[in-house]
């Protein structure tokens, strides 16, 4: 009972925070809403006894990714009005579509035809069970292939990021110190010898 109360209250916060991400006028507020969203999700994971994942979520997403994200948002001067101009035009049809989607999903749940009743809820784990060990074993045995592919995925991300940013733009005016130092007089100076012009 306590678990269910906790679940529903935190789930509500997740949804509200999610709505906050897209509704907030200020991008910093939006980012903070996202942080809240992650935090509450971590709590939800705690409730199904996935402690390790919950902590990783907080550490990686909240601690690293979102902080980076906040930096970027603050550094870029985003014109909110510009961004929202299209948004307003889409409010009405967007709301209609969202309502339909929600109605569809709710309809399914309310009429209990979801089909989820075939699977049981999470079975309580025995005391002393180590989430991290089990995860580790699974990852490096059963999911070894997936891990390898995920590693390649990260490699691609690195390559993509580097190749899209580390690039000398054409026509950029920057100093090349080495070239400046290494310059020789003969490169810059041309001595031209010519006869003096006869007096008119």
């Amino acid at each position: 009972m306590l678990v269910e109360i906790l679940f529903y209250s935190f789930a509500t916060i997740v949804v509200l925070a999610g709505a906050g991400v897209i509704m907030a006028r200020n991008p910093v507020h939006a980012a903070l809403s996202l942080v809240l969203c992650f935090l509450t999700s971590a709590v939800l994971w705690m409730l199904i006894e996935a402690e390790f994942l919950a902590i990783v979520l907080v550490l990686v997403y909240v601690g690293a990714v979102m902080v980076l994200f906040l930096f970027v948002v603050m550094m870029l001067d985003i014109n909110i009005e510009e961004m929202r101009r299209g948004f307003r035009r889409y409010v009405v049809p967007g709301a209609v579509i969202t309502a339909m989607l929600v109605a569809e999903i709710v309809g399914v749940i309310v009429q209990r035809r979801l089909g989820l009743d075939v699977t049981r809820g999470a079975v309580p784990l025995p005391p002393g069970y180590s989430n991290a060990t089990d995860l580790g074993i699974a990852l490096f045995t059963r999911y070894a292939y997936a891990i390898e592919i995920a590693a390649m995925l990260l490699l691609v991300a690195i390559i993509a990021a580097i190749s899209l940013t580390m690039r000398r733009r054409r026509g950029l005016k920057v100093q090349d110190i080495a070239a400046q130092v290494g310059v020789r007089a003969s490169d810059r100076l041309r001595v031209v010898k010519m006869d003096a012009e006869p007096r008119q």
Binding site: G86, Y90, I97
Partner: protein, 651 residues
């Protein structure tokens, strides 16, 4: 027999044709000639080997080589059916083709299209071999059309001459009519048997014979009769039977070697071969066979008449070919398929010989074809003279010559037949003997005998032909003389064709003749007691009388019977009818449809109207692609909601 070897027979000429055609400049004139001759010679040797193997007990080969595609359980294959019928055709085709290849070296010596010509005739050899070796209707049709295409190309070989272009267009159009029937026939076979394979189709034949189809309401037709007549209409086009014969005389616009190869010895006999090959089908329809017989008899006699009044040496031979094709068709019509094929073989040799001698005369005369400007040439070109006399004697059916055996057997077979219309056919083929003898020797006398009527130019430039042209003449003269004597007994009476040709017991006229047959020599001696020999002699004598003895008489006859002369001179007004009635009315119909149907309804309403509608819709739909990211995302979500909603509502 191994399939690689069989495959090599058509493919060697094809390879030679491709090399000579595409790399003609590279390998030069001699190179093109040598490579195609080598290809055809190899095919000829291999064909002889195949025939040899079959004669010595090898079983017929029948298997697919390559499956081109399978659609709705109908498999379209390339496959070979090589039995004795096929092997005989293969030897005839490759041998005559080889002779013509060699002959061409001399005939076309000065022509700028030398390599192209060799490429064409080699390609023709390939197509013809594919046709005769086919084991299914698809490949038969391919070969059928391929020889048609090459024939079209070769008739128009000298494409700068308007008459050549007219002639090849005519050949093309007339053959379309025939091919339409042929295609309908094949479709009929496919409809009733569900297979394009000969063996399967033939095994269904009794079943089809029992079925009827309704084309006009209220009239039930035997399905087999309809199929066979349709197939035969194809043969009528290709083998130039009345009324689809009009293209063959005009095809003489092509170079003479191809007149010999395509329009005398091989392609035009494809129709005869096809009907013989389809004998298991035709046997089940007496109506169709009667139709075949009447058409053939009409062609045999009435086309012979046209040869009498012509003065163009090649056209005389061409009308003779038409008449002889009529003979073969009559033989088919009385179920004497083996006799038809036998006559096809002997005819291939002696008619090719006659064409090639005519070609030699034409070359010697500097491309003069009018016999009125020849005469007395026997002293100037003795070898050509003697070989052409051999050909002529074979053609008119002189005892012991090859033509005699096939023609006499044919006439006797017609005499034995009791099919509806057989007496008309018998009259035609017997009367045809006189006509044949008359025009053949009229040609010989006008060309080689009498006084020289050469004009100044021809006299000055006259030169006898070289051995590259004489060689093939000799090579063809030998079989023209001898082949009938040596092969009549094995081919006709000793069951040579085996299962390749099927004749029902009640139709078997060849067996009737076989009962009275006591050896080839006896057969020849027996002819002294028969009418055709005397008719032939009468024909030769009257030709001699009218051409050499009393030329004035011929002129007075011509004046006396001027209406008859006009009828013959206008070729029974077939061309006039085709051009003024058929062509003109179809042009009028086409014009009407173009203006009314095409321009007004299709272009105006359907095409422009629907194009306008599509264009308008495209403009509207284009607006959806706004270029804004959130619009794209929005439409994605809309799509998702629609997909979901559609199913949830229905669930």
């Amino acid at each position: 027999m191994n399939p690689q070897l069989l495959l090599a027979i058509p493919l060697l000429p094809l390879a030679a044709a491709i090399i000579a055609g595409l790399a003609g400049k590279l390998i030069g004139r001699t190179g093109a000639a040598l490579i195609t001759i080598a290809g055809v010679a190899a095919a000829c040797v291999l064909s002889v080997q195949v025939l040899w193997a079959l004669l010595h007990g090898a079983p017929p080969w029948n298997a697919p080589v390559y499956t081109w595609l399978v659609s709705d359980n109908v498999s379209m294959q390339v496959g070979f059916l090589v039995d004795r019928l096929t092997a005989l055709m293969m030897v005839v085709v490759t041998f005559v083709s080889l002779c013509v290849h060699v002959y061409t070296m001399g005939y076309m010596r000065d022509d700028p299209g030398y390599q192209r010509f060799f490429a064409y005739i080699s390609l023709f050899t390939f197509s013809m071999l594919m046709l005769v070796m086919a084991n299914n209707f698809m490949q038969l049709f391919f070969g059928w059309e391929a020889v048609g295409v090459v024939s079209y190309l070769l008739i128009g070989f000298w494409y700068t001459r308007p008459s050549a272009i007219f002639a090849n267009l005519k050949a093309f159009l007339v053959n379309r009519v025939g091919d339409f029937g042929f295609l309908l026939g094949i479709a009929g076979v496919l409809y009733y048997t569900g297979s394009l394979d000969y063996q399967t189709a033939f095994s269904w034949a009794p079943g089809i014979a029992a079925r009827t189809m309704t084309i006009l309401p209220g009239h039930a037709w035997s399905a087999m009769t309809v199929i066979c007549i349709c197939l035969f209409i194809g043969a009528m086009g290709k083998s130039a039977q009345v009324p689809l014969h009009v293209w063959l005389p005009d095809s003489m616009e092509g170079p003479t070697p191809i007149s010999a190869l395509i329009h005398a010895a091989t392609m035009v006999t494809a129709g005869i071969f096809m009907v013989a090959r389809m004998s298991p089908l035709f046997e089940y329809s007496d109506t169709a066979l009667s139709f075949v017989m009447v058409i053939g008899a009409t062609t045999a006699l009435f086309m012979g008449f046209l040869g009498i009044i012509n003065n163009d040496i090649k056209r005389v031979v061409a009308y003779s070919t038409l008449s002889q094709l009529g003979y073969m068709t009559v033989a088919l019509g009385v179920s004497a398929y083996s006799v038809a094929i036998f006559h096809l073989m002997t005819h291939a040799f002696f008619k090719a010989l006659l064409f090639l001698t005519a070609g030699a005369v034409i070359v010697a005369m500097h491309h003069e074809q009018d016999m009125r400007k020849m005469g007395g040439l026997r002293h100037r070109m003795p070898l050509t003279y003697w070989t052409s006399v051999i050909g002529a004697l074979a053609l008119i059916g002189t005892p012991f010559f090859s033509g005699f055996y096939s023609k006499d057997a044919l006439i006797e077979a017609v005499g034995e037949s009791h099919r509806y219309g057989a007496s008309y056919a018998y009259f035609c083929v017997v009367a045809g003997v006189f006509v044949t003898a008359f025009y053949t020797f009229r040609m010989i006398f006008m060309t080689f005998h009498g006084e020289e009527r050469l004009d100044h130019h021809a006299k000055e430039h006259f030169h006898d032909v070289g051995w590259d042209m004489k060689g093939p003449l000799v090579a063809l003269a030998i079989p023209s003389l001898l082949i009938g004597f040596f092969t009549i007994e094995p081919v006709l009476f000793n069951g040579y064709f085996g299962s390749a040709i099927r004749v029902l017991e009640r139709n078997d006229v060849v067996a009737e003749i076989g009962r009275e047959f006591h050896g080839a020599a006896n057969f020849a001696l027996h002819s002294v007691l028969s009418l055709p020999l005397y008719l032939a002699i009468a024909g030769v004598v009257s030709a001699w009388y009218l051409v050499l003895k009393r030329p004035a008489l011929a002129t007075s006859i011509q004046q006396r019977f001027s209406w008859l002369y006009r009828l013959l001179d206008n070729k029974y007004y077939f061309d006039w009818f085709n051009e003024n009635v058929l062509a003109r009315s179809s042009r009028a119909l086409g014009y009407g449809l173009w203006r009314g149907g095409d321009q007004a309804i299709i272009d105006g309403v359907l095409v422009n109207g629907s194009a306008g509608a599509v264009g308008w819709f495209a403009g509207v739909a284009r607006a959806l692609q706004s270029g804004f990211l959130y619009s794209y995302a929005f439409w994605m979500i809309v799509g998702l909601v629609m997909l979901l909603g559609w199913f949830l509502v229905r669930l």
